[in-house]
Each structure stands twice: as structure tokens, then as C-alpha cells.
Assembly symmetry: D2
Homo-oligomer: 251 residues x 4
């Protein structure tokens, strides 16, 4: 309702959650109502538990408020979501959609730029090399955008997962990316806040990655650097630089 | 979409599911869209498992299509749903609502006759004696209805549960109640259909209670008799006659 | 999205419009989505014209986001809407609902305090004496609230109309009412802003009454005083003091 | 709810209406709820009047229940709707979308085959030659479908209008098209039913074109022949044969 760091301070145009359990593909629940008063969201939040979940609230800028435009998007075991936009998307959508693998084309169900970006990442090898695939997808967006006269074609943070590992990205063509924060490792947090019950309830490798800090633990949040990619997996995490890969290199 | 035994052959005015898990109160998911194409329902059906669940599809007759009118209704650990109606409800609603315990009054969130019936049953002791409480609730409906000149005030089947035991009712003032079926005990079904995989996957005391038979197992379904109450609990079930209890007896 | 004077800065829990045309009863369109991206609202705004219309955006505080809770409420030729709340409504709802005329009781379709307030005003003579009926309705709310220990039972501004005359109220038990503004008479505005096209397009007796000033005409808006009632009708308007009428006087 | 002649007997997956008034572009109202209980539809039906309106109820076969998939579709002054489907649409959607004029590409907001068909018709000259444009659009669908091994690519009836003239089509690749009926001219109907009030209220050139006959006037309805195009304009109407135009001829 009142985002402090976001470009859109009100995110009331629908929302979505994705979560993993014993079934092969993640579950996804999406709604076109604001999250703040959605009764079903409260119910599900109280009755679903998962070792890994995604949650996204939406501020529609141009495209329709409909479930097929709500993040996270899913393909097989993959979830994908994005806080940002492709500038000049209407002008380059056709070019981008043509670059999507033909087998994935019928999977495009909504109008959202993020869904197309996800399909591009899948086309460019998300299954095998997530950072490379996202670099090639954004590289194509930047190349096609610039051809059409868009100065800064890409803006945003991205999170994607196969249910085991989490990849997050912070990047924008203009070098002024939307915010992204992650939590310090839990053992350090426990030392810092020895009296906090919640920190004893979560496991050593629990992590939150968020667009802006929540709660009341100063010092718990670390800001992702500009143009970086973070990888979180069981017992291991890394922070790497991120650069889009222009299309000539991609093929 | 095509009910064969129901009074309304199309039940597309929203739906609801309720289920029990480790948390004290059951989860409830309700939607105002037809169940047949609700994407979220498919997701939840694939990702929630429970030892006991309720599902209801709605054909609105007069009241609004809104989540607060969708069954099942919940109070604490209780779920309650109903296939039928209170005849002349608009005329006797005020009388009935006045009979609801004052502490429950603010819990009435929708317009549905069933929600009022549930609150009456809670008022009349659902926690301690479900068949008696339902008998007193319907007894009051019949008494108040007849005062207002309604010949057959109550029609329908009811299911209610506390998460452990299931109580189902089939009754109508006119003696022509809507249909209700339950499955024969699983060991008998396994003997009858030795090759059916599904029957090996379910436990000995699994039960389905439905408004009309589903699937392709002739002989699997037993019709509840008119004016009866069925009780299903772990390792035990009973079928009893059911008679509403007029209000003079109830107080 | 960003109310400056309202208690709730985000009003995204549905909205409603009501308008008058040649048919006897006004039309009402209500939606549970935020007004800011509702496609149907844009369509209707571009295709319906009326000499008198109501518009309301909602911030739900406790009650469900459903069309039957959206203002404006309608009865016959009357529309009624409210910016505010009845404090402790859950505790006194039963008392208030019992005071509603029995013939109106079945008309209550939602959970909103405003719908009950409207039914009370109708019960207490809205048709014949709108200021008196509203005074008696709020008087009852205050009396019943105080019995239940609520210090300031009523807060808000109200607008109601029969399609000919508009009655607006600003009142709160605490004497700190939500804001209400109306536009200065059009001839004066034209003198003040001789170059404004829009002022030449509207008739001499056009009026806007709003919760907070809009647009860019400083000096166009006059604040309704605390505890007052404004009446706007063809070629005549009045501003009167408003005092609730306690129930002992009402009967 | 109970279509007698349609392929889908229940059409509860949203609906839409379009109407013309003094503003240049038609108004469109769309909803994802079943038409039968949509409160807003009743309101609008009672308060909007127009010399020409479209109404469509939807049975979703595969694509999402969302407003951007609801007919009628609009572009400028044009409305377009369709009862039927493009067989194998997932397989040929990419081919078809590529044939849409680049300037129209960003206008595609939903997933519906009909929206793509409409964009193809606009690309192929709907503005200047509606029957020719529709013939070329369906011709392309058939050609692309057959390349992909679809035996009967097109099925359905189409209605389109610019607000002045109405063009309706009945055609299917298999020669077994969905039904389409129109009303006999009003003067003949008045002669046949001299006592019917409604026939005195409508003008001489009033026309209804519907998927299946309604009401209780036997003899009022004429079935459109297979592979035909009907044109209704002020004081004139024609019934012509219709044949799709294969793409080699179209360019």
C-alpha cells in the first residue's frame, strides 16, 4: 500500500504467490484484487508451508489487471518474477516475441513484458545456465530497444528459481536500478539479536530477498549492488557481477 | 455444469472448499467464478492434501454472487454447508437472525440463508450435540416459516464437521428432499472392484458423501434415506432418523 | 490512490457510481476492483451522461470487499453514500438492525454500516424530511453506541439524493469530522476565471461536492462547516446547522 | 445457461456488450462473471439505449477467463465478435500474429483466437471492404492451418459493425457451421402478429441477428444459409454467398 523505495508507491493491481512442495511443479495462486484485503491470500498464507516461496504485488502500468499478467510466471519447475519494466515494450514486443522459441510461443497467455522476458530466458537456456540466459534475454531487450530509439530499455530486479536454487538480479540499462535487499546470514543475526524468537525458529540457511526491507531488525538487510546477480542454494551463496549479453554473442 | 439430480442444473455462481491440516482452524478458499474454469482451484487441488475436505458449488437463487455467500461457512473448527434453501427466507430472516446468539450476530457476513442456519445451529449447541442443534435450527425455521404462511419452509441436505467427525442430514418439510449419496465401505468396494488402483490407494475408512454419484463405479453409492442423519467418524459410522425439534421443546 | 485529507490514504477496495436518467430509478454500477484501473469505469464514464451523479471509492475497514458493500446504496429513487464509519459497529449492529423497518429488513444485502444507516434514515422518514431522518438515524447510532461504551459513535460525511435535490451532511460525535467541500457558484467562478473553457460548458447552477478539492482552481472550493447540512436543488441552495436527534425525541 | 443449438450448452465464462451513442467510438462493457447473475449487466441494460448493440456470452475453451478475452472486440468505430473457434490455434497462432499489421500488433491484449482474427481482418481492409477483409482473414487461417495439418481450421459465425452497417457471416471449413438466425422484416411480423405490442414499439427496419431463436414468435426467425454473408444497413439488406480468399490472392 505504501512502498517507500518503489517507483509505484501503491501496488494494488493484483498479486501472486508461488510455492514448492512434494509435487513436481510449484503451485501458483494469482488474484486481480489488491493483496491487502484478499481473504483467500490470508487463508492460504495460514495453511500452506514451503521451503521456498515467491510473492509479488503488482502495479499495472498500461497492461490489463488480469491473472495472466500477474507474477510469478511458471514453466515446468521454474518460477520467474520481475520488479520493473521494459521501456518502449509496445514498440519492440513483436521483435521480442519472434525471438521466443516456437514451442514456447503458445505458452504466452498474458500481455506482460515479464512473461515475454521469461520466455526469452527459457529460450536462451534458463534450464542450464540461468545467469547466462537472463544476460542474453536482457541483452536482446537492450539491442532491440536501442534499434527502436529507446535509450534505457531495461529496468528492474528479477528473481527466478527451479525450486532448489534462487537466482536474483539487479540491473538497469540506465545504471539506476530498483532496490533489492537480502538478509544477512542467520547465525550472525542470532548473535546480533539473541532474544528474537523468530530467529531461533528458522534454519541456518534461511534467506529473504525483498524489494525493500521489512520488519524491525536494523542491520539485518544488505542491499544488492547495481548490476549484480545473487545465487542462493543449500549451504552456499554467491554474489556476482551481472552484464547483459548482446545478441551477436548470444547466437 | 450439468447436474442430473439437482434442482438447479447449472451451479456456476461461485464455489468454496474447506480443508483441515495441522493448524487449529480449517482453511477455506472461496471464489465468485464458476468452478469449472477457475485456475486457482486447479492449483490448490493439486497442492493441498487433507484427511477431510468439503467442496461446494453454488447456484444463487436471489442472493448476490459474493464470497461471503459461498459455502462452506466456518466458525472455529466447524465447517457447514447446505444444498437447498429456506423457503420464504426474506419474510422470516429477521425472526431467525434475532434468534442467533448475540455473540454470533456480528459473524454474519453475507446474505445466505445457510449462514443464518449455521449460526442458529451454533446457537443451539452444535459444539456439544450436532444432530440436536441442527434439529432445533430447522425446527425454528419451520415454526417461523409456518407462522408467516410458508407451507414447506425447509429443503435440503446439510454437511457439517469439526474436523474429526462428519454429520450429514437429508430433510425437507415436504418430505421430498434433495438427493444425498455416500460410498459403501472401502473393503466391500475393493472386493467388488479388485482391479481398481484408486481403491488400493485410499484407507479402509475413506468416505465420500455427495449430492449425486460421480465416477464409474456402479454399486459404490448408497442413497441417504429421507429424514435421516449420517455420522461418519474414525472407525465408526451410523445412520439415524432425523426429525426437526420445534422451538417450544428447544428452550 | 493518494488521498491527502482522508483518514485512509488509499481507497482501492472497490467503488461505485450512481446516476439519473429518464428511467424512474437511478442506475448503479459497482465493482470490487480499484477504480484507478477499472476498464469498465472508463467506458461508462465516457458513455453515460447525467444531470446528477454520485461516485464513491472505498477503503474497507473490516468488512468484505464485495459489491453489496460498495456505495452508493439505492432504494427506489434514493441514493445514499458515506465517508466515515460507525464506531463499535459490530457491537451495536444488532440493535440498529432491529430498529430498521421490517419491510426494509430484507433489503439489507451487505455488511456495511452505511447500508444500515441508510435503512435507518429510510425508516425515520427520508422520503419526507431528509435532514430530520438523517438526524434521527445518527441520533440512534449515538444513543446505542454510548450504551455500549463507545465514546464517539459516528464519524463522517453523508450525501443523499432523490434525483432532484442533494442533501449533504458533515458531522461526527467527536466534532472532528472528515472533510467536505463544495464549489462556489458558477457565475462567480466564471468571473474569477474568465478564460476557463470548462466553466462556460457547465450551467449556472452546476455543483460539485467532494471529500477533498480536485483540479487547479484555487478559490473554487468552500469547506462545509462542522455539524452542518447542505441542500442543493434547482436554483436554490442552503447551508444549515446539523444536530443529531436522540431516539427519545424520534418516537 | 442452456443453449439448445450451440456446441457449448453453458456459456458462463464471461460476457460483453458493445453499443453506439453520440461519442465516436462505441462503448464496451465486459465481465468475467456469468451474464445470468451479473448485477451490473442488469443495471446497464436498464439504463443504456442504443440504435445498435452487440452482446456476446462466452464458453472458454482453453483460454483464460479474463476481460481481454471477452467479445466484442473494438478498434476505432469497429466492433467484432465470433461464435466458434480456430482449430489448432496454438499451433498456428504465431503464423497468424506475424501476418497482423505491425501497427496493430501492440493492440492484441488477450489470448483469444477471435482477437487475432479481428486484427487480421483489420490488416486486410475491414475499413473499406468488410466481406473481402473477412474472406482474406479466414482464407489465411485455412491456409496456415492446413500447412500444420489441421483439416477444418475455421468454424463459426461472425458479426462486425462500424456503427452504421452490420455484416454477419456464417461459415466453417467443414461446411457444418454453427447456427445463425435473423428476424424477418418488421412490417411482415406486424402483419403476422397484429396484437404484439413490442412490434409496434420498434421501427420498420429493426433487426435482431442471433445464434439461436429467442422469444415466442414462431415464424419470426430465418436461418442464415451455410457459407453466406448478410449485410444490414439503414433501409437495405442483402444476403450474399461467402467464400474465404486464400492468401496467394490476398497479396
Amino acid at each position: 500500500m505504501h512502498s517507500k523505495l518503489g517507483a509505484e508507491t501503491t501496488n494494488g493491481d493484483g498479486f501472486g504467490i508461488g510455492w514448492y512442495d512434494a509435487t513436481p511443479a510449484p503451485g501458483v495462486f494469482r488474484s486481480i484484487e489488491p493483496a491487502w484485503n484478499d481473504q483467500n491470500l490470508r487463508e492460504l498464507a495460514g495453511h500452506i508451508s514451503s521451503h521456498l516461496f515467491f510473492a509479488h504485488i503488482r502495479a499495472a502500468i498500461g497492461s490489463a489487471v488480469q491473472q495472466t499478467n500477474c507474477h510469478p510466471f511458471r514453466h515446468g519447475r521454474w518460477l520467474f518474477m520481475h520488479n520493473g519494466f521494459i521501456d518502449g515494450f509496445a514498440a519492440i514486443k513483436r521483435d521480442l516475441v519472434l525471438a521466443v522459441d516456437e514451442s514456447l510461443f503458445p505458452e504466452i497467455k498474458g500481455q506482460a513484458d515479464t512473461e515475454v522476458l521469461f520466455c526469452l530466458a527459457l529460450t536462451f537456456g534458463l534450464d542450464d545456465d540461468p545467469p547466462g540466459a537472463v544476460a542474453r534475454a536482457i541483452g536482446l531487450v537492450e539491442a532491440r530497444g536501442r534499434v527502436r530509439g529507446v535509450e534505457y530499455p531495461f529496468q528492474g530486479t528479477i528473481a527466478t528459481t527451479d525450486g532448489e536454487t534462487l537466482w536474483v538480479f539487479r540491473y538497469s540499462s540506465a545504471g539506476k536500478s530498483r532496490s533489492l535487499f537480502f538478509t544477512r546470514d542467520v547465525p550472525s543475526l542470532r548473535q546480533q539479536y539473541p532474544d528474537r524468537e523468530v530467529l531461533r525458529e528458522v534454519s541456518d540457511d534461511a534467506r529473504l530477498v525483498v524489494s525493500e526491507p521489512m520488519g524491525d531488525l536494523p542491520g539485518a538487510w544488505i542491499e544488492m549492488p547495481e548490476a549484480s546477480c545473487g545465487i542462493v542454494s543449500k549451504g552456499d551463496d554467491r554474489l556476482l557481477p551481472f552484464t547483459p549479453e548482446p545478441p551477436q554473442k548470444a547466437r
